[in-house]
């Protein structure tokens, strides 16, 4: 019945057809424009990555090119009577030849010779000739960066902080989320509000006393201040996991309870296997946080042997500013693990952002 009514309200077929066609054209043009804008934006986003990668593969000489090309070009050199000279593609009477620049002369002129017949020379304006270049990569920058600063040590420290911390977060937050989702004591709901309100507490407010505490314990300049707190749960991840637990039907718990399972067993055998998506998301987010965090490592780690990648890279940059290529190589090393992980587990990342952003 509904369909009949709809039909009666529609305009005659031809008008409808024309209108539809113009709408379709409009949306096609709109979509093409949108795609162009989006693709341009994507290119802009990729440029810093390309810049970092290409700079990390350049020699110190290649760094001098202004503006820095995104491809690590190198001037092609040829041997002319025992000396290495830059090769140019020169135009003489409409004919193009490859010749070497052997001598600069006033007024931007240069003497070019044929590398195979050095006696044939011609004087031309240098700016009008095109230098011959080729791509030259210097992967040895990575080895040099590793030896200039103890990158392997920084990496090891970062891995320890990241993975031990991840274990801490997963164990503690899963337990706490279970406590807040499966028990009914009235004081629990009060505590949950307290937990939620700590999300917006800036960490600077507690930082100084915590620093003093760790100093009294003799933990400053060890990895412990970065690791130990993770075992005491954090509001944000507890909230995420709890929200997920709330969607798992209680019947499953009851069945396990009737079978004589303790709450610990119920959590481990019933809830955790079903909550893997949120657990993976929390693990990934903690990885990113711990891997990239600069603030706390800067405050708690003083001696070089304890630095994480973030602090090590910052110091490298501050002390060896001229060695841009080596700094970029170290930067690439730091960036690869999160980028790789992101590509492998994209779906979980984006889901996590969406869940915490839209529904949180």
């Amino acid at each position: 019945m509904a369909s009949i009514e709809v039909q009666r309200m529609q305009p005659p077929a031809t008008v409808m057809h024309n209108r539809l066609q113009s709408m379709r054209l409009q949306s096609l043009v709109g979509r093409a424009l949108a795609t162009v804008v989006i693709a341009t934006g994507a290119l802009i986003i990729l440029i810093p990555f390309l810049f970092m990668l290409s700079t990390s593969l350049k020699s110190k000489n290649q760094l001098r090119a202004v503006p820095p090309p995104l491809i690590p070009w190198e001037m092609t050199m040829v041997e002319v009577t025992g000396k290495r000279e830059p090769l140019y593609r020169v135009t003489i009477d409409g004919e193009t030849r490859e010749m070497a620049l052997v001598k600069n002369q006033p007024g931007g002129m240069g003497v070019f010779v044929d590398p195979f017949h050095p006696e044939q020379s011609v004087t031309l304006k240098i700016a009008e000739q095109t230098p011959v270049r080729h791509v030259e990569l210097h992967p040895e920058n990575y080895v040099e960066a590793m030896t200039a600063v103890p990158l392997p040590r920084y990496l090891l420290n970062t891995l320890i902080v990241t993975f031990v911390g991840m274990t801490g977060v997963l164990i503690s937050c899963t337990m706490v989320a279970y406590g807040f989702s499966r028990f009914r004591a009235p004081w629990l709901s009060w505590l949950f509000i307290v937990l939620l309100s700590t999300i917006m507490l800036p960490r600077q407010v507690t930082l100084i006393p915590v620093y003093v505490l760790f100093q009294r314990l003799g933990w400053v300049d060890t990895l412990l201040p970065l690791i130990v707190p993770t075992f005491f749960a954090n509001a944000y991840d507890v909230f995420l996991i709890r929200q997920f637990f709330m969607t798992i039907p209680l019947e499953m718990d009851d069945a396990a309870k009737i079978d004589g399972a303790s709450p610990m067993q119920t959590l481990w055998h019933v809830l955790v296997p079903q909550a893997t998506p949120v657990i993976v998301t929390v693990a990934l987010f903690h990885f990113l946080y711990a891997w990239n965090d600069f603030y706390e490592p800067l405050i708690f780690l003083h001696s070089q042997k304890n630095w994480t990648m973030a602090v090590g890279l910052q110091t490298f940059n501050a002390l060896y500013a001229v060695n841009t290529h080596l700094i970029m190589a170290a930067g690439v090393v730091m960036v690869i693990p999160p980028v790789l992980l992101f590509f492998l587990a994209q779906r979980h990342f984006i889901q996590g952002v969406v869940v915490s952003g839209v529904k949180g």
Binding site: A42, I45, I47, P48, S172, F180, P209, V339
Partner: protein, 308 residues
Amino acid sequence: MRLLRRSRLTLAQKEDLWALFFIAPWLIGFLVFTAGPMLVSFSFSLTRYNIVDAPIFIGLENYVRAFGRDPLFWHSLRVTLYYGALSLPLGLLVGFGLSLLLNQKIPFLSLWRTIYFLPSVIAGVAVAIVWSRIFSPQGGLLNPFLERTFGIKGPGWFTDPNWAIPGLVIMSLWGVGGGVIIYLAGLQGIPTSLYDAARVDGANALQRFRYITLPMMTPVLFYMLVLGLIGAFQYFTEVYVISGGSGGPQRATLFYNLYLYQNAFKFNEMGYASALAWVLFLIVLALTLLVFRSSALWVYYEGEVRKR
């Protein structure tokens, strides 16, 4: 009877004990790393304390100093607010705009989404270093590009006190993709039936945007605004890397959080830094409450009963 009651009581108690057991990690952490330190931090803020010697009680002196005698305190607030006033609206506009485009059923959606999210994955030191080189007036990437395509002679960016903050704002726009993902999810959550109904009623694209998309998206925009405000007051890593921890050039990037850090860990003024932390806390609290309060005026929640 008596036995039964006692066993029932212990059952409830047992449940409570289990609950306590499960939330214990957070509860202990809350007391040791949050509640305790908050109290201590407040009492530090009433002292002169250099971490080596015992704190000396000086009353509200630190607060008087901040508000009354410390031009750098006001300066760092101005820097932070200036950055926020530029980067928040721009970020919201660009991010939301991009997500509207991405929502046009354009090809390769998942590819674009991946690329736009990429910067959020590596936020931090490496990014700041790369951008400092891109902006560099010597051998950077941006100024030659501006010169060639627009004929503009680019400024000194992070070496020029007038251009350092705009530079940071441009840098922050590069990371706008994290928000794009959230907006996009919000857009895709709007029921298509609403648009269909509007079309039947003859609403054009602009009207559909104004009366459906925008109201449906205000909760998400609102959430991002609150996060962005809090974020500006916590901004640290990028400025630390770019200015080498100094807040230069000429203190142009002395953000509030950086100034707090300098007081605590460079000048060993733990008491004053604690006072600054409490001021920060109150500012964040006030801003959040302000945005929440004002949200009734402009944020639309589905299922909300409107009061007249």
